[in-house]
């Protein structure tokens, strides 16, 4: 009943007043309002629906991938209210009113985000399945460094934070790429960071 308590905590009124536990009666659903890639979306969702499944199965935004469904691979990474998160580890109803950017919102095939273009140029991918998560993470990581948020490998917390290969590798380690494009991804991110600076 995690869904119900989480929903209650966020003061979302279930549209079906259900005191019975889910699994024995009609599922409890709630109206959820999200801003996804700049568009307001209203959904009626099972309280158990993850943010990832809300995007993939309800909004048909399948760019965010399901690799493990429990926060171990990073393929589902989205940028929510400015921070990257594993969308499989959070329920959609916990994001009432959130601003969500998925890979589809970063850029489109004819209008690529610089990080997307850099991944193509440096071949920072192979099968492509972890790629949207890597790119969302990559964009957010550069913002985190710019914002001065430290990582495990940040040596000097008082000095201006640098985009080093060690920082990129540490911060990107929640995004697994089994094809093994890491070396190329670091090069893509380094190039984008340089362009920004």
């Amino acid at each position: 009943m995690v869904g119900v308590s989480a929903a209650a905590a966020l003061a979302v009124a279930p549209s079906v007043a259900g005191a019975k536990p889910a699994g024995t009666d009609t599922p409890v659903t709630a109206k959820v309002s999200l801003t996804v890639n700049g568009q307001r979306r209203e959904l009626e969702l099972d309280l158990r629906t993850s943010l990832l499944d809300a995007a993939r199965e309800h909004l048909h935004l399948t760019g965010s991938k399901k690799g493990c469904d429990h926060g171990q691979c990073g393929a589902c990474t989205m940028i929510v209210d400015g921070r990257r998160i594993n969308a499989c580890l959070t329920l959609a109803v916990m994001h009432q009113g959130s601003e969500i950017t998925t890979i589809e919102g970063l850029g489109q095939p004819e209008n690529l985000h610089p990080m997307q273009a850099a991944f193509i140029k440096h071949d920072g991918y192979q099968c492509g399945y972890c790629t949207p998560g890597q790119i969302c993470s990559g964009v957010a990581v550069l913002d985190e460094i710019k914002a001065g948020i430290p990582s495990h490998v940040t040596a000097d917390l008082n000095a201006p934070m640098q985009v080093t290969e060690a920082e990129i590798r540490e911060r990107m380690s929640g995004n697994i790429c089994r094809c093994g494009a890491y070396s190329n991804i670091v090069e893509a991110m380094t190039e984008v960071a340089g362009r920004k600076a």
Binding site: A22, G23, T24, D25, T26, P27, D46, R48, D53, R56, E57, T62, G63, S64, K65, K66, G67, C68, H70, Q72, C73, A75, T102, I103, E104, G107, Q108, P109, L112, Q116, A117, F119, I120, K121, D123, Y125, Q126, C127, G128, Y129, C130, T131, P132, E165, I168, R169, E170, M172, S173, G174, N175, I176, C177, R178, C179, G180, A181, Y182, S183, V186
Partner: protein, 736 residues
């Protein structure tokens, strides 16, 4: 076309498009999340239901009772598929695993039921309400316990004879002045591709269409037909995008079989993905091995005897891991003996994972070579150079088609700075790090097989290629397009490559690193036919026509290519077939891997600091994608060296660490900049493309290079993969 004599000069040799490091043609779709993978096909008209599989909670025995009432009564549930309502289910021709306990249970997490409901959440919740009673039987889960008793298996269709002998191994080994006799173990490994096995199945009358994720479309159709007991021509499989495979998606797995069964049962399309936690025990994996290697040599380092005895386990009828494949042709030596043995284990099926045979075989052999070099007081590179052979010592001395192994070794040694390696282990320090260098050789069979293609030219001059080949991240779309562009004399922007549809001409698909060379050769053959059709349509003498820059030229006439299709599309189809060149020449790919590691002198923590691969694989059709294949193999090889192992619970009989937190694969922080280069060569005995595959070569030899570097850093020899710090700590050199 039949390819039975080595290729001469042909249009590919112009290298205007082929051989160039072009970006992937489908890249813009992958980086924007718009490439559709199996679970993601959306048809607003379809009344789709969701299936969630329930896996067996025992390793061996049978289901004695299924309690389904609660699950069936749960909200949204449409049906519960079990052996009681699934109908008879066969199995495929490649895997021995069965897709549903019936009620016999063969291995842990074998599917017992699939719950179908209106939504994923409902199906998942109801799956948790399925209760199963089992009667357990004792199983066999301990490979090492069968070392003394396991038999030699019958010869398999693909692996060659399980035992091979040249000369008198025992006699020569006993007489050799310098000898090595050591045993190595490699663990059960998981493919752990990022996209879980997934299928959307829908029936239209007796015709079945499945969006799925498999590497070999022809095997998939064959095996699904066998499983369901229906003719192949009623099945269409679509896998245009596959989120990694590494051999683990060769053909039908439980998601595809049960989605098809469920969709038939409920009369609606059903989508099923294996949960990540099910993948490790419910599908196939690379089986653990125990390998005894014996090498005898003269005092000046010439190998006189080489022996390799290898054991793995499998479900009854399962395949033997051909670890000796690399030992047979790699090094010289007049007296040779190799043997494979197969134990019976009641664990999930062991089967192909990237470079089956060579990858685990070289993990053992290339440590043994390192140890032997040390016993001889020789440099490991020099020892390998000395024992190079230009003929296959196990195949009656037939010549290698090309074998620039020594060039790989020498180029790598120079580029890596091998001369800075300390020959005595545990003598180089960098602060708290003990630093070492290691290297290993690589060899992997260069297979090639019958492959078809269809090419279409339209009035705009656009060439469309259709093949049932898959792109699992390898670059198939791009090299297919490059081949057609080169042949038809157009730019890549005038070519459309369509892959992953079982209705397209048959290819070997992605496996055994034969996909790339085979499929491009098939496209070459079809394009030759299209060139003839174009010439004929334009009234040219087809012997004297040039295709370049989007134009067709003959004598003084030059016509835009598209003009040949003004009156209607021109379509050509052909299949390339291969003669006996693979019997007249030993066709292999070669490489050399170099690694530098740091080992924390106090904690034993191992970090790879840099790596280099030098590879020889014939013509490299796209150096950018090929390099990515190699650095991807190096990444996977670092995993094999340092972290990857499925742990067997020998009491209950299953792989314990069955998710991505417990089964550790390399992450960004584990991988330094990786360097990979290719030897400049072509192999005319392979095909008109003169190319070989490279995707599996990139993994071969990586893990032992890292293991040898750890030895060089610490002086601690680990023969039991993965090389983890607990195996170093009690033998580490004095930190003071």
């Amino acid at each position: 076309m039949k390819f039975d004599t080595p290729a001469g000069r042909n249009p590919i040799d112009r290298l205007k498009v082929v051989g160039r490091p072009t970006d992937r043609v489908e890249g813009h779709l992958k980086v924007t999340g718009t490439a559709p993978y199996a679970y993601e096909w959306h048809d607003p008209r379809a009344s789709l239901a969701y299936g969630v599989i329930v896996g067996a909670g025992i390793a061996k025995g049978r289901v004695s009772a299924l309690h389904l009432d609660e699950a069936k009564a749960a909200p949204g549930v449409v049906a519960v598929v079990t052996h009681e309502n699934a109908g008879p289910l066969g199995k495929g021709a490649f895997y021995v695993q069965r897709f549903l306990a019936d009620p016999k249970v063969d291995h842990y997490h074998q599917a017992v039921a699939a719950v179908v409901a209106e939504t994923f959440e409902q199906a998942r919740a109801a799956a948790a309400l399925v209760r199963v009673d089992y009667v357990s039987e004792a199983g066999r889960f301990d490979l090492a316990a069968q070392w003394d008793t396991a038999p030699v298996p019958p010869e398999s269709a693909s692996g060659g004879p399980p035992e091979s002998v040249v000369g008198d191994f025992e006699g020569a080994f006993a007489a050799a002045p310098v000898r090595l006799d050591e045993t190595y173990t490699t663990p059960d490994q998981a493919h752990a591709m990022m996209e879980p096995h997934a299928t959307i199945a829908s029936w239209d009358g007796d015709r079945l269409t499945c969006h799925t994720s498999i590497q070999q479309m022809n095997w998939g159709v064959r095996d699904l037909a066998l499983t369901l007991g229906i003719p192949k021509n009623r099945i269409r499989l679509l896998s245009p995008y596959i989120g990694g495979g590494f051999g683990g998606k060769g053909t039908v797995q439980a998601d595809l079989a049960l989605a098809a069964v469920a969709a038939r049962l409920v009369g609606r399309p059903v989508k099923v993905a294996l949960q990540r936690t099910q993948m490790f025990n419910a599908t196939i994996h690379r089986p653990a091995t125990i390998q005894r290697i014996r090498i005898g040599a003269t005092r000046d380092g010439r190998i006189t005897a080489i022996g390799h005895d290898s054991l793995n386990g499998n479900l009854p009828g399962g395949r033997t891991e051909p670890t000796t494949a690399s030992t047979k042709p790699f090094y010289a030596g007049a007296n040779r003996w190799t043997r494979l043995r197969l134990a019976t284990l009641d664990l999930a099926e062991g089967n192909a994972m990237r470079a089956p045979g060579e990858a685990p075989g070289l993990m053992a052999l290339e440590i043994a070579m390192d140890e032997m070099a040390e016993r001889l007081g020789m440099d490991p590179v020099a020892f390998r150079v000395l024992n190079d052979t230009q003929v296959d010592p196990m195949q009656g001395g037939i010549p290698f088609s090309t074998r620039p192994f020594v060039e790989c070794l020498r180029t790598g040694a120079k580029r890596f700075g091998w001369d800075r390696r300390a020959s005595r282990p545990a003598t180089l320090r960098d602060g708290r790090w003990l630093v070492g260098m290691g290297m290993a050789g690589a060899i992997r069979a260069a297979k090639i097989a019958t492959s078809g293609a269809r090419v279409r030219l339209d009035g705009r001059g656009v060439v469309t290629v259709e093949v049932d080949m898959t792109d699992i991240g390898t670059g198939s779309y791009t090299i297919v397009a490059q081949t057609a562009a080169e042949m038809m004399g157009v730019g890549l922007d005038r070519v459309v490559a369509r892959l992953g549809d079982s209705d397209f001409p048959e290819t070997p698909g992605s496996g055994g690193q034969q996909g790339g060379p085979s499929v491009t050769a098939g496209v070459y053959a079809a394009c030759l036919k299209l060139r003839e059709a174009v010439a004929q349509r334009l009234g040219f003498n087809s012997d004297d026509v040039a295709f370049a820059d989007g134009m067709v030229r003959s004598g003084n006439r030059a016509v835009p290519l598209g003009q040949a299709a003004q009156a209607g599309d021109l379509v050509a189809e052909d299949t390339i077939e291969f003669g006996d060149l693979s019997k007249r020449f030993a066709q292999q790919t070669f490489g050399a891997h170099f690694a530098e590691v740091g080992v924390d002198a106090d904690t034993g923590e191992i970090r790879v600091r840099r790596m280099l691969a030098v590879c020889a694989a014939g013509r490299i059709i796209n150096p950018k994608a090929a390099r990515s294949q190699v650095i991807g193999g190096m990444t996977m090889g670092i995993g094999a060296a340092l972290m990857e192992r499925m742990d067997v619970d020998k009491r209950r009989g299953f792989f314990v660490n069955h998710d991505l937190a417990g089964y550790e694969v390399p992450v960004h922080a584990d991988i330094p900049h990786l360097d990979a280069v290719f030897v400049d060569e072509v192999d005319p005995t392979m095909s008109p493309m003169k190319a070989k595959g490279v995707g599996e070569l990139g993994l071969c030899g990586v893990a032992p290079a890292v293991a040898n570097a750890v030895y060089n850093a610490t002086g601690v020899r680990v023969r039991d993969y993965p090389v983890t710090l607990d195996k170093l700590l009690d033998r580490m050199p004095d930190a003071a």
